[in-house]
Amino acid sequence: MSLDIREGELLAVVGENGAGKSSLMNVLYGLYQPDAGEVVLDGQPVRLKSPRDAIARGIGMVHQHFMLVPTLSVAENVVLGREPTRRGVFDVERACEEVAATCQRFGFQLEPRARVDTLTVGSQQKVEIVKALHRGAQVLILDEPTAVLTPQEADELARVMRGLVAQGRTVVLISHKLDEVLGVSSRVAVMRRGRLVTEVRAQDTTAAALSSLMVGDSHPAAAQVSTQAHAPGAVVLDAKDLKAVGDNGRPALRGVSLTVHAGEIVGIAGVDGNGQRELAEVLTGLRALESGEGTLLGGGLGRLTPAEARRRGVGHVPEDRLRRAVVKDMTVEENVALGRHAQPPFAKGPWVDFAGRRERANALLRDYDVRPPDPELPLRALSGGNQQKVVVARELDANPKLLVVVQPTRGLDIGAVAQVHARLREARARGAGVLMVSLDLEEVLALSDRVYVFFEGRVTGTFTRDAFDERELGRRMTGAEAAHG
């Protein structure tokens, strides 16, 4: 495939997972070598053998998974690998000054001395961008940059990108979010199955047109919003005044009360890092409760362990897929069994039931359209979207009474997002209570019957479906309630 990137433009590359967007960008960044073909930069054919080559030639990349050292400061992360020194010793002061200068030049507001792990995801991303700019990047590649951002942060990022282009830099944006792409980019390249399908000027197209170009004819259009009536059943979760401490030792939940009924989807909206993750961890037995009480499927919350939560019928689609949801070096079928490996059809007494496991795995792979549908492959060989399908398939197959899902569609393509959403609605229709934490406000509004807004470990607002108000929700997400008393 061929693709031209022009100087000073904001090019968006869109396509489904596995369409080859990331592979293409990894070639440009020197991580992969092309089997055939060449990269021409400023009229010169270049061989990019490593990211080092790419950086030297002014190409910078911000990965979907950030490559930052969490315990180092912003400045230290930015200069890492080309540290300023004084008499052979790392000069922290100069590093901070240099980084502050770069931030000012491009209009970023970052405190060079702040430790990266104390920053929000949006700020961490800015650190990544500053890092690339600091190394003299003329062409900046952003891989799925808005996947983890709040609407406000995404708007901020769009401003940053426009600013960079205005200063003559070139930005390549890889994304699934078509509305955003159209809002910010000047040109859009659509990829499908490793080929460039078309290039269009952003003002000449619509999200719907792009979407059908992306998926070809293989998928139905993005699923419609459920119009099913909200008819909640028995209470599956009733929590009062939950308090818990986060990983950094600071209070993460400061008195949260909420209920979830059977047959409803309850959304948790909020900016990242306001206690949503910790709530999900408390409910799945992964984090100890400091105080507060609650009933979860007929038991308390005080001494909940992951095993006990599963026994009671809690399903869990965790946020950090590769760390929490799957073991990437085990096979797909082993991952299908994970968590339920002690029950039939995955076990016979103390033994692993290989035949039963294979049969169930095959059925689920078919049912959830996992590609390739090979249960013996190591899980890491699947794309992110297909890995997530495996996780969702596994958790729903257990027929949970309460399903806790966190960021269920982060980084997935349209087809996979629609499928995951449909499955969540299916679980709701079957009578499961679904608690969904998502940083994607659109997703929360599309799926939820009720929404709790989190800010700094407290509930700052509750909304029901008939009274959704996006602006008001957004204000509560930034703690407006306190201002209004």
Partner: protein, 376 residues
């Protein structure tokens, strides 16, 4: 099978390369003829002297070398298993040596002090050894789980504690054999009773004893445990993805502790096989550092119970035959040198894999993420 062969290939190539390099080393310091004859001596000394046998020699020309090789292989298999089992939960057991010392001592004490028939005596001595080794590694496991002490540090230190405790005190002090009659200069603990001796499988033809099938059975048992049992599945999950295992409801600390204790038990059994099978008592010191050899064997065997058994058999043969190299004035430590070099090459296994991958590029799964750093 294709997959298995592909995984074994780097190890096989590493061992062959080490053999070639050592041959060159001998050839350069002596001459080509000596190097070749030394290798033949080593080979026949390990797999049995077939030329002599076919020339009408006694059966023992075959059985003696094979028995020696098998006994060395049994010890290497058990210590290799010890290291590999700990690896399965992501722990690096450097302490097989210390665990083996404790196991050997326990076997020697039970073997000498308990007076029961062989059917009870041998299992009791073996169990005592496994328990002692497991206790020793259990200390490291407890420190790791409860206090977060890194197992590499704690197992190394426990090795020294074991040497000090056993070799430098118990064996020359409280447990020292009481000299009887003309035997006034024996070292080590009292001789074990005949009821505790592992029976020799070929009578006087070789020193091959029950220890060898015991080691093979242990390897098969560990393999079954890991692959077929639910708890083995959990154990592997803990090693490959501890957070995912915890999220899935696996008792991570418990499985980690189990694996580490089992690792110690394997090393303890190695000590028992040495004492009950060949030494007959806890000698003044344990002699060869089989516990450390276990690290090499486990890595060359890819941390796979059956793979490491094959590696143990190969090096058992080389070790047993190595002594015969001395007939030609070549030092008997060459087999250890070969083992060390092979380990070095296996450690560079990623390079092997990269070379192989380049050859077979079309079959590689597409677009596997090259670099992926999860955020903290």
């Amino acid at each position: 099978m294709g997959e298995r062969a592909r995984q074994a290939l780097p190890s096989v190539l590493s061992v062959l390369l080490a053999l070639v390099l050592c041959w060159i080393a001998i050839a350069m310091t002596r001459d080509v003829d000596t190097a070749t004859r030394a290798y033949l001596q080593m080979f026949w000394g390990g797999v049995g002297n077939w030329p002599a046998f076919l020339d009408g020699g006694p059966v023992s020309a075959l059985t003696r070398p094979l028995g020696e090789a098998a006994m060395k292989a049994a010890l290497l298999t058990l210590t290799g298993l010890s290291v590999a089992v700990a690896f399965k939960v992501g722990l690096f057991n450097i302490g097989a040596q210390g665990q083996m010392i404790l196991g050997a001592l326990a076997a020697a004490v039970v073997g000498a002090q308990l007076n029961v028939p062989a059917v009870l005596h041998i299992p009791a001595a073996l169990a005592a050894a496994a328990l002692a080794g497991g206790t020793w590694s259990g200390i490291a496991a407890a420190l790791r789980i409860r206090r977060g002490v890194h197992e590499v540090i704690s197992t190394i230190m426990l090795n020294w504690v074991a040497v000090s405790l056993v070799d430098n005190w118990l064996v020359i002090g409280p447990l020292k054999a009481v000299a009887q009659g003309q035997q006034s200069s024996i070292t080590g603990t009292a001789e074990i009773l005949s009821s505790a001796q592992l029976p020799r499988l070929l009578g006087d033809l070789s020193r091959l004893n029950l220890g060898f099938p015991l080691a093979l059975a242990a390897a098969v048992g560990v393999d079954l445990w890991l692959k077929r049992l639910r708890v083995g599945f959990e154990t592997r999950a803990v090693g490959l993805g501890p957070e995912a295992a915890r999220t899935a409801g696996v008792p991570v600390a418990w499985r980690t502790g189990q694996a580490m204790v089992l690792a110690g038990a394997m090393a303890g059994l190695a000590g028992a096989v040495l004492v009950l099978g060949t030494e007959g008592r806890y000698p003044g010191t344990l002699g060869a550092p089989y516990g450390f050899d276990g690290i090499a064997i486990a890595l060359i065997g890819n941390n796979n119970p059956l793979g490491l058994t094959v590696a143990a058999l190969v090096f058992g043969v080389l070790r047993a035959g190595g002594t015969r190299m001395q007939l030609l004035g070549v030092h008997k430590s060459f087999p250890e040198l070969i083992q060390g070099l092979a380990l070095l090459f296996v450690a560079g296994r990623l390079i092997w894999l990269a070379v192989l991958r380049r050859r077979t590029r079309p079959s590689v799964a597409p677009a596997a993420p090259v670099v992926e750093v999860p955020r903290a």
